[in-house]
Subunit: 481 residues, 2 copies
C-alpha cells in the first residue's frame, strides 16, 4: 500500500489543513456536532416530499419540496428564490446577500427530485416515511440526492449560525429535473450566466468505494450512440423457397458486429484508440488501492466469468477504457417456436463509452466509415447516429482538486482515492461549456445505497462526514482560488 506522502510526489498532492482561524473552524465543527440530531431531523423532513419528477401526479409535491428548500435556505440566512422553468422550478440560494463581492465564488449543484419509488412491495418501509436503522436513513431520495446536497447546506448553516465568515461566496443551484434529463438546466445556466459566474462547481452526487475510501471523481467516460439497420429483401421471405440465394440481414449484421471487436476485448475499428491516453503508472496505482474482490464482483454481476480488454484490471476496464456495447438486437421473428423466414432487416443498438481525449464526433465518423467498408454489397446499411456526451477529466493535480482532497482527508481521517467513473454525467459538460469551469465530484454515496432501487438509504456517517468535508472545503477552495 502506498503512503499518502509517496503519492504526493506523483500527484503533487499535499494536504496542509488550512484554517482561516483555528478557533472559528472549531466553532463551525462544534456546531455541526451539536446540531447532529437537528440535521437528521431536517433531512427526514426533506425526504418526506414525494418529489418524483417522472410522475405528473407529483407536480405539486415538487413545487412544495422546492418551497420547503427555499424556506430552509432563507432561515439559514441565504438569499433564496425559486426560478420557474418549463418543468419544475430551480432553487437558487446564495450567500451573496448584498450583491456580488470580491470573494471567490463557488457553485454547489444538487437536485431535489427523486426516482419513482416503484416497485413499492419491495420496500421494507414506505419510501416517503423516513426510517432510521443501524445508522442509516431509509427513504427515497435520501442518498440520491437530498442527503448529499443537504450536507453542504448544513456546513454553510454552521458558518452562518456561528457568525463565522465564509472565505468565499457560495451559490446553491438545486434543480428538480435531474432524474428526467435536466432539460431546463442548460437554458437556466445560459440565462443566468453572469450571476452564476464562478471558480468551480461542487457536486456531491456520485459515490465512494466504501467509508474507508473517501473519493474525488476526476474523470468520467463519454458516450456515443449509434443504431445500425441492415436491410435485406423488401419483405420477410420464405426461407425454403428463397433461402440460400439472398443474404440474411441478421447474419450480415452479426458478421459486421463481429468485426468491431476481437476476442481480447479490443475494439477493432481503425483509429478508435488514436486519442486514448495510456493510463499513467500513478493512475494504475490508484486503481490498485481501491477495494476490489474479483470473486465477489463476478457473483454480484452473476456472470460465469469476468471478461474485458486484455491487459487491464476490471476496475480499469469499466471506468478508464473505452467500450463498445450492444444494447439491443432486433430482427425477424421473436415469438414462441420458429418461423422459417429470411428477415427483411436486422437492427443493433450500440453505445460506445469514451474516455478523456476521445472526441465523440471523430470516433463516430471512424465507426461509420468502418461499418460502411465492411458492409457487404448484398444488403443496404442504414446508420442513425444518436446522442453523445463528451468524456470528462479534471486533472487531479490542479489546485481545486487538491483542495477537495484535503477536505476529504480532514473529514474522513482517511487517505482519499482518486476515482475514474465509467458512467457519463452530462451536466458537468454543461457547466464547462456554459460557465467555463470545472466540476469537483465529491460523492458521498456508497455502493449499497440502492439509488434508483427499493430501500434507498443514506449512511448517516456519510452525512456527518459530508458536512465536515464541506466545512473544510470552502477555506481550502478559497485559498486555491
Amino acid at each position: 500500500m502506498e503512503t499518502f506522502a509517496s503519492r504526493r510526489r506523483v500527484w503533487g498532492l499535499f494536504c496542509r489543513p488550512f484554517l482561516l482561524n483555528g478557533s472559528r473552524m472549531k466553532a463551525v465543527l462544534d456546531y455541526l456536532k451539536r446540531n447532529r440530531r437537528q440535521a437528521i431531523k431536517d433531512l427526514c423532513d426533506y425526504v418526506r416530499f414525494p418529489s418524483v419528477s417522472a410522475q405528473p401526479q407529483h407536480r405539486k409535491d415538487l413545487t412544495a419540496c422546492a418551497q420547503w428548500l427555499a424556506r430552509y435556505c432563507r432561515n439559514l440566512g441565504l438569499d433564496a428564490r425559486l426560478c420557474p422553468t418549463k418543468g419544475h422550478p430551480i432553487v437558487v440560494a446564495t450567500t451573496r446577500t448584498n450583491g456580488r463581492s470580491s470573494r471567490p465564488h463557488f457553485l454547489v449543484y444538487g437536485h431535489y427530485d427523486v426516482q419513482p419509488p416503484e416497485p413499492l412491495d419491495l420496500w421494507h418501509s414506505p419510501p416517503f416515511e423516513p426510517r432510521i436503522a443501524g445508522g442509516r436513513l431509509f427513504a427515497r431520495g435520501a442518498s440520491d440526492n437530498k442527503g448529499q446536497h443537504l450536507a453542504h447546506l448544513k456546513a454553510v448553516e454552521a458558518y452562518l449560525k456561528t457568525r463565522t465568515e465564509l472565505p468565499c461566496d457560495l451559490t446553491f443551484v438545486i434543480e428538480g429535473e435531474e432524474e428526467v434529463g435536466s432539460a431546463s438546466l442548460a437554458p437556466f445556466l445560459r440565462q443566468h450566466r453572469r450571476e452564476l459566474g464562478c471558480q468551480a462547481v461542487v457536486v456531491s452526487d456520485t459515490g465512494m468505494p466504501d467509508k474507508s475510501h473517501p473519493a474525488l471523481t476526476y474523470a468520467l467516460r463519454g458516450l456515443a450512440a449509434l443504431e445500425i439497420t441492415v436491410h435485406g429483401p423488401s419483405r420477410d421471405l420464405h426461407s425454403g423457397v428463397f433461402g440460400g440465394s439472398v443474404e440474411n440481414p441478421a447474419m450480415a449484421l452479426a458478421r459486421m458486429l463481429a468485426q468491431t471487436r476481437d476476442d481480447q476485448g479490443r475494439i477493432t475499428i481503425p483509429g478508435f484508440y488514436q486519442d486514448v491516453q495510456p493510463l499513467r503508472a500513478a493512475e494504475r496505482r490508484q486503481f490498485q488501492r481501491l477495494p476490489f474482490q474479483a470473486a465477489a464482483y463476478r457473483k454480484l454481476l452473476g456472470v460465469p466469468a469476468l471478461f474485458g480488454e486484455a491487459g487491464f484490471s476490471p476496475l480499469e476496464q469499466r471506468s478508464a477504457r473505452p467500450t463498445l456495447e450492444i444494447n439491443g438486437l432486433t430482427s425477424g421473428y421473436q415469438g414462441e417456436g420458429s418461423k422459417t423466414i429470411v428477415p427483411a432487416w436486422a437492427r443493433a443498438k450500440l453505445t460506445f463509452r469514451l474516455v478523456p481525449h476521445q472526441d465523440p464526433n471523430k470516433v463516430m465518423r471512424q465507426i461509420c466509415r468502418h461499418l460502411r467498408k465492411i458492409c457487404p454489397p448484398s444488403v443496404r446499411l442504414e446508420l442513425e447516429v444518436g446522442h453523445h456526451a463528451k468524456p470528462y477529466l479534471v486533472p487531479p493535480s490542479g489546485p481545486y482538486a487538491r483542495a477537495a482532497l484535503c477536505s476529504l482527508q480532514q473529514a474522513f481521517q482517511r487517505e482519499p482515492v482518486l476515482l475514474r467513473e465509467g458512467g457519463s454525467i452530462p451536466i458537468v459538460n454543461e457547466f464547462r461549456a456554459i460557465l467555463g469551469v470545472d466540476t469537483l465530484l465529491l460523492g458521498l454515496g456508497l455502493p449499497d445505497d440502492n439509488m434508483h432501487s427499493p430501500n434507498e438509504k443514506f449512511d448517516l456517517e456519510c452525512f456527518d462526514r459530508g458536512q465536515l468535508m464541506s466545512a473544510h472545503l470552502w477555506p481550502e477552495l478559497a485559498r486555491a482560488a
Copy 2:
C-alpha cells in the same frame, strides 16, 4: 438446349406413351374435352366453401365441404366416406368398391382446407365467389389445393363414366388440416395402414416454373431448427458502471454466429457438408433448363444484390444446397432511442435447410458441438433444439418417376423438367415412414398463383392439362408397377 433424347441417356428417361387400348384412352380424353365446362363448374362449387382450417368459426364449413366432396366422389362411382379425426374429417374415396383387388394401388393425396383469405381488402373479388377472367379462376383454394386434386378426380371420372377399366386401384386421401400442420394425418395413416398399402403416392400440391415447363419435383430440402440463447449477467447492467468488465451477451452471440458462415456463403460448422452429395452434371443441366432471369429475380426480392454460396447458381443455392438462416434476433432494449445497458441475454432463432442424405439429428449434433466449442467462458450457452424434417429424394430415374414424366410429356406436349424444391413438405416423410412408399410430386401450380396471398388463382389450362396428365398417369404407373 438439350433434347429429350440426349437427356434420356443421362436420366434413363424414355417416354413411349402407353395406351392400354388406343380407343379407350381416346374415349377418356374425349370425355374430359367434352365435359370441360362442367369440370370448371364443379371446381367453382368446390371453392365456394370457405373451408378455412385456421379459423374456428369455419368448422361447419369444413364439414360441409368434406361432405360435398364425398358426395361428388360417390356420384363418380367411388366408394367414399368421411373419416372423423380429432380435427377435421379426412375424405377417403376409392375405386376398390369390391374390396381389395390384385391390381396395383396408388394413393392420391390432397387437402380441402384453405388458407385464411385475409386481408380481404386486397382481393379484387370476394375470395369465396369464384371469378373467371383471362382463362384463370380466382378464388381462395383454387390452386392450393382444390383445383389440383380435383384434376385427378376428373380424370378418374372420365375413366368411370366412359366405362374404361382403370389399370390400377386408386384411393384418394383428402384431408382438412394441411394448412394447420396435418396433425391428424399421421395417426390416420397408421390406423389405416393396411387399407392404404400402395405402390406410391401422387401429390399435386407444388408448382412448375411456367406452363412450358411441366415439372416433377424429385427432391425437397429438410429442416432443422435451433434456438441459441447466450446468458451473460443475471440482469441488464448499467453500461457506464459495469460495461467493459463483463462480456456483452449480444456481442458474444454475434461473434458466434459469425463463426458459422464465411463470406463466400459457405457454412463453417465442421462436418456440415459431410453427407452432402455433389450435384451431378445432369442435375445442373436441369437447373440450366429452368427459366431464370437474375435481374428480375433480384427485383422481385428487393435486394441490392443476390448472394449465395459461391460456385452455385441462385436456383441451385435456394433448392439444392443446405443453408443456415437466422430467423430472428432478440436482445436487450428494442424501443425508441437508446438504453445504456449490457443486456442480460441475447437470442437467435436459426433454421437450417438440409439437402438429401443429410441427417437432421447428426447435423444438429455437429452444430451444437461447434457452438459449445466456440462459446467463450464468459457467457453461458443455452441450446434448444426445435423441430426437424428430413430432406426428401425420389431418384428421378426410378420407374414411377419415369412414368410420371411420360404423363407430363403427353399432357403438356412439352419436355418436363426435374425440380428440386427448397422447401420442406413434411407429409412426404410420413408417407415414407408409415406406408413405406415414395411420393410423386406433380405440381400444377404456377409461381404467380398467389397461394396464401390475396387473389389466389388457378390457371384453367393447368386444370385441363392436369386432368390429361392424370388420365395418362394411371396406365403409365400401372405398367411400371
